[in-house]
């Protein structure tokens, strides 16, 4: 017969240990395995990697110009998409935060709604809009702005549109959360005292919204770095981004060790922003409580 106190402790332990063990086995252990396999050599066997340890894969990644360029291009494209999301998302979040209560909840719902519809189908929707005989080109031709269809599909522009479209809600929601907490009377006060709209924005709104800006940018940048579907469906075959290289290295070339090494380097690039995000969210939670 256990005593009540012991029972309490046992119960607490089970509550912590169940999700903990699950995450150790299915989240942390896989990373250890990926690290291990990235140090192996590809062999023709089942599974296709050796038991040896060498740094050949990493040396290869560093020496091959194609991979360096791919990483660089992925960073640049994710960064550009982040800036686009911020440019569009900030005024939108601000506009939502300024609306009255009833409109506000509807506007927020409309931002979140696309997020609940299959991501793949939303990217697919853009294929119908952007292709040479698609809606956008038909409208442009009908308006007489162009007589030849403009090539948008299978270009970097299409990838930017896709990334911005998909990740926009991730930017708007944290921005809205900080802007909503802000006292908007401060802006009126500043403007009453003679500040221009621009001055009021840079001196008051921007500094107060900084936590939301940081969180939003990281929530867009980190997943956009490894994006596979958008570049595949909307981008051209020569647009090599790291998510696709990893996928192809694994499924097409069946080079598991090299694919693992690509993943390890990608993760190394993302460790800094991920830790940064964790810090900013921990700070946010403390502020809220």
């Amino acid at each position: 017969m256990t005593t009540p106190i012991k029972e309490d402790r046992l119960w607490q332990r089970i509550t912590v240990a169940t999700p903990y063990l699950w995450l150790l086995v299915f989240f942390l252990l896989p990373f250890a395995i990926i690290l291990r396999i990235s140090l192996a050599d590809p062999i023709i066997a089942q599974p296709p990697y050796s038991q040896t340890i060498s740094f050949d894969n990493f040396l290869f990644l560093l020496s091959d110009k194609m991979y360096a360029l791919t990483y660089l291009k992925s960073v640049l494209m994710a960064a550009a998409a982040t800036v686009l999301c911020l440019l569009l998302g900030f005024p939108m979040a601000y506009g939502i935060a300024c609306s009255n209560q009833a409109t506000r909840s509807l506007l927020l719902l409309l931002v979140v709604l696309p997020f609940w519809i299959s991501f793949l189908l939303r990217v697919y929707a853009w294929m119908g809009l952007l292709n040479n005989y698609g809606v956008i080109n038909n409208v442009l031709i009908w308006l007489g702005l162009t007589d030849q269809p403009i090539q948008i599909m299978y270009t970097d522009t299409a990838i930017f549109i896709g990334l911005t479209y998909t990740y926009l809600p991730f930017m708007i929601l944290p921005l809205y959360a900080t802007l909503e907490r802000m006292d908007l009377d401060l802006i009126d006060a500043a403007m009453d005292l003679g500040a221009s709209r621009t001055t009021a924005f840079w001196d008051i709104t921007w500094p107060l919204a900084r936590a939301g800006v940081i969180a939003g940018c990281l929530l867009v940048f980190i997943p956009a770095m490894g994006e596979y579907v958008i570049p595949y469906l909307l981008g051209g075959p020569e647009t090599l981004l790291i998510g696709r290289v990893l996928f192809d290295e694994f499924f097409v070339n069946r080079d598991w060790p090299l694919a693992s090494a690509v993943a390890v380097v990608l993760l190394a690039l993302l460790v800094v922003p991920i830790v940064f995000l964790q810090k900013s969210q921990a700070g946010d939670a403390e502020q809220a409580s």
């Binding site: 569009l88 939108m92 506007l107 697919y124 929707a125 698609g134 997943p223 490894g226 996928f247």
Partner: protein, 267 residues
């Protein structure tokens, strides 16, 4: 008071147009009779009929829904436990690692999660002979792992916003902690758990990349089927499928919104 400048207003209009024009256009073209998906050939609902006669789509949908329901349920259980542990239990050994492992899956690029889980399953199979086949069980495990993070975050924020006095009162009256959670905490965080379950269900139904890594031959989820078709370009039956998705989600969310609005007004 009018704080919204004309600039903000026009960006709002542009932003919402940007978000919704693709969805509207897909619905429009789903009623296109022409097999060429971008040329208008008259009104028709034939693609919807074809959708329900396509056995591959039906099989993939059934698998996807089974995976989504199972993984959402598991994720809600584990995620709620994790949320409780992080908010109510104070410090415990390994808390830092635990909270790290809870947040990291939220932003982890899918290709990394997918690859690492597949390599885990392959290793487990070599060592323990399990999983003998990849399919329903492996996809469910993978989805549970990333979506429990979302549930944990939702439950956590609900718990920290919640008034603790009821729980404290019950404790003072001699109620055991396990009973407090079952009788008081869980009913209070039930809305967060429902929201978490729905989000986990949607995320699972949505996932292509991770499922592609961890599924085996013969088990195609709905996104995997869709991807294999749309790789080749725009097709009318996928237009119909996308429209059904859009309609179901919109109707559900909008009616939920109206119900909540009405309740607020009545109270």
């Amino acid at each position: 008071m009018k704080r919204r400048s004309r600039f903000v207003f026009s960006v709002l209009v542009f932003g919402y147009a940007f978000l919704y024009i693709p969805l509207v256009s897909v619905i429009f073209y789903s009623f296109n009779d022409s097999k060429l998906a971008t040329v208008w050939g008259g009104f028709s609902t034939r693609w919807y009929g074809e959708l329900f006669r396509n056995e591959q789509i039906l099989d993939a949908t059934i698998l996807s829904i089974r995976v989504a329901a199972t993984s959402a349920t598991l994720a809600t259980i584990f995620g709620t436990m994790a949320g409780l542990a992080l908010v109510r239990f104070g410090r415990f050994r390994g808390r830092m690692l635990f909270s790290g492992m809870i947040t990291a899956p939220l932003v982890m690029p899918e290709v990394i999660t997918g690859l690492s889980l597949l390599l885990l399953f392959v290793t487990l199979q070599q060592v323990f002979g399990w999983p003998a086949q990849r399919g329903f069980s492996t996809i469910t495990i993978a989805h549970t792992t990333f979506s429990m993070a979302y549930v944990a975050v939702i439950v956590q924020s609900r718990l920290s916003a919640m008034d603790q006095s009821l729980e404290e009162a019950a404790m003072d009256l001699g109620c055991r902690p396990a009973r407090v959670v079952v009788d008081i905490t869980l009913p209070l965080i039930a809305p967060a758990m429902v929201a978490g379950w729905l989000l986990a269900f949607t995320l699972s139904l949505d996932d292509l990349v991770i499922a592609s890594f961890v599924s085996g031959p013969g088990s195609n989820t709905l996104p995997m089927y869709i991807f294999s078709k749309v790789k080749l370009g725009v097709t009318p039956d996928i237009n119909a499928l996308a429209s059904l998705f859009i309609l179901i989600v919109s109707i559900t969310l909008l009616s939920a919104w109206f119900v909540i609005k009405k309740q607020e007004r009545n109270s």
